[in-house]
């Protein structure tokens, strides 16, 4: 139902290629590549290139940040950035399709070459400044792994790898067909500068790897908490059972970081809907330390 007043004969000015003064106008991008990530085909990675080359430099992001993906005429959706900040020519997002999600549905029906928009980078990101000289432990389940994949790609970059010590990864999915970025993770498993433990809840087909829930695998791997930062991202049930394991192994809540999701619209702390207590997930988050999380009221 379209409101009559908003019929508008448009003057198609091109978008200001530099940081737009109007924070609601997205950078124009084009879909350059689409990868289906899982057997269920409801997870797709979209590689986007900026139509104005200068915008990529302006879109200077940190691991753990997100952006509002914009489809003109449809709407926006807040999605974590899945590519590394050091991937210069493009940015990537992995989007799950929800039947009730108008943007995710329209995205999944899109083809390479479709023009769309990106607004960001938004949010606080993972605490990169705390990672120098530390051991990094990364734990994830399901499709929550997107910003952690960005993190791993970033940490493995030749200019970054020397700045951190050991990197340990535990990543699990319900079944082999649901593992995201599978070929990348299998490659990383072969490297000796990163210790990757892949697991599935239930083995299937020709899966030769581990079978076991993420919390129990973490327990087995028992990463040392000494001089370590832990980044953990997963469905509520996984968090519920993994966090006690981390505590047992000696991880300080100040050194463990989670990333939250919320229904968002503006993404810039104005529209009032994404708060948990007095924290706006879009501005003060989406990354919070476990210590901060215990201070937050239970409304997420």
């Amino acid at each position: 139902m379209c409101s009559n007043r908003y019929r508008n004969s448009l003057n198609p000015e091109p978008l200001n290629p530099h940081m737009p003064p109007n924070p609601y106008i997205p950078y124009p991008v084009t879909i350059d590549k689409i990868t289906v990530e899982n057997d269920a085909r409801d997870l797709r990675t979209f590689r986007l290139v900026f139509r104005n080359p200068a915008d990529r430099a302006a879109f200077d992001f940190r691991i753990g940040q997100f952006a509002e993906l914009s489809l003109l005429g449809v709407g926006e959706a807040p999605i974590g950035i899945a590519s590394s900040p050091l991937d210069e020519d493009y940015i990537e997002f992995t989007v799950k399709r929800y039947p009730t999600g108008i943007v995710s549905t329209a995205l999944h029906q899109s083809e390479v070459g479709r023009q769309m928009g990106v607004r960001g980078p938004l949010g606080n990101g993972y605490p990169v400044e705390r990672m120098a000289g530390k051991n990094i432990v990364i734990i994830s389940g399901g499709f929550a792994v997107t910003t952690l994949r960005s993190t791993i790609r970033y940490l493995l970059h030749p200019t970054v790898r020397p700045t951190v010590n050991d990197i340990t990864v535990v990543y699990g999915a319900r079944s082999p067909g649901e593992l995201c970025y599978k070929s990348e993770f299998l490659e990383w498993q072969e490297r000796d500068d990163i210790d990757v433990h892949l697991t599935v809840d239930k083995s299937e087909g020709d899966w030769q790897g581990r079978e076991g829930f993420v919390p129990s695998v973490v327990s087995e791997v028992a990463p040392s908490a000494e001089n370590a930062i832990c980044l953990i991202c997963g469905p509520p049930i996984m968090l519920k059972f993994t966090i006690p394991v981390l505590r047992e192994v000696g991880f300080d809540p100040e050194d463990t970081y989670l990333s939250f999701e919320m229904r968002m619209k503006c993404g810039i702390g104005k529209c009032g809907r994404c708060n948990i207590g007095d924290r706006y997930v879009c501005v003060h988050g989406p990354v919070f330390s476990l210590a901060e999380t215990t201070e937050l009221p239970r409304e997420y």
Partner: protein
């Protein structure tokens, strides 16, 4: 057998103390003059906080949707009782779990009509009643388990509001102008919908994004779409209780349109919602002798 007449506070206390009901929904005094507020009494000791007077305008039946698992007593005026009948017919309420405390009502005061310097008596005159009350045909509840006062006189009253009749006689562009003017006032706060006992969808059409049935901009076409669709959904179900018109914070004239809807339903289907527990609502059945005049 005439319905037992009781004292409101005593019956509330009794029903709670002997465990007949879990909660009594009624009215109590609010923080402002000329209005009452809904009260939810669970402790027999709080039964004395309940009141009934000419400021008790809210249709409390609206709250029954939240108490389906409980046994509830609710204070109902004659207009409110019609909502109970309608909801029972729609299988939303279980009569066995309900105790209806009927309140004979000679009309509710519209605080907007009471002058600032009015005396106590002046606040109770007929000239300061809600328009719908002047037209009320059900001043005495008919199906209540108890009555909290003596029945009040039931005068002959025109059934539908004056503006409904007036609008029928004017040209369509005049009618459109009036409708547009009213819709421009609407801020889509949905107080009218939320206060209506007949509006109880888990997900209202206004809240659907897939598909997105309506926009919520300040263009009056959005307000029109909302109100017209709600009216359509209320066909044969609106009892004319007036709660929507009273709830509107910006005085949109909803009564004219709801009354027109009820008049059309009466003319076409010879049906009025919430009066006869045995009658079947027109949108729920087909009768061979349904009028076909609209087919040209």
């Amino acid at each position: 057998m005439p319905t037992e007449q009781v004292n409101l506070n005593e019956i509330a206390r009794r029903l709670l103390a002997d465990g007949t009901v879990d909660v009594v929904i009624g009215y109590t005094t609010g923080s402002q003059p000329l209005v009452a507020v809904p009260a939810f009494v669970r402790d027999p000791q709080d039964a004395d906080t309940l009141v009934f007077n000419r400021f008790c305008e809210q249709n409390l039946v609206n709250y029954l949707h939240r108490f389906k698992a409980k046994r509830v007593a609710v204070v109902v005026k004659g207009c409110d009782e019609r909502s109970v009948i309608g909801l029972i017919q729609e299988k939303q309420l279980d009569r066995q779990k309900l105790v209806l405390i009927g309140a004979p009502c000679a009309g509710i005061v519209d605080p907007r009509l009471v002058p600032e310097d009015a005396t106590e008596e002046e606040t109770l005159g007929d000239d300061v009643m809600y328009a719908g009350c002047a037209a009320c045909a059900v001043r005495n509840p008919r199906f209540a388990d108890y009555l909290i006062g003596a029945p009040v006189p039931q005068p002959e009253a025109p059934e539908f509001s004056d503006t409904t009749a007036e609008l029928e006689d004017v040209e369509s562009d005049e009618r459109w102008r009036y409708f547009s003017r009213e819709m421009r006032k609407c801020i889509l706060c949905f107080a009218c919908r939320n206060v209506c006992p007949a509006c109880y969808c888990n997900v209202c059409f206004t809240e659907s994004s897939q598909p997105k049935w309506m926009s919520k901009t300040d263009d009056e076409s959005d307000a029109m779409f909302f109100h017209l669709t709600r009216l359509l959904h209320l066909t044969g179900r609106c009892t004319g209780c007036g709660a929507c018109a009273r709830a509107c914070p910006v005085n949109v004239d909803l009564r004219t349109y709801n009354d027109r809807l009820r008049k059309d339903v009466k003319d076409v289907f010879e049906f009025e919602a919430g009066l006869d527990p045995e009658a079947r609502a027109p949108m729920t059945c087909f009768r061979d002798n349904d009028k076909n005049e609209f087919i040209k």
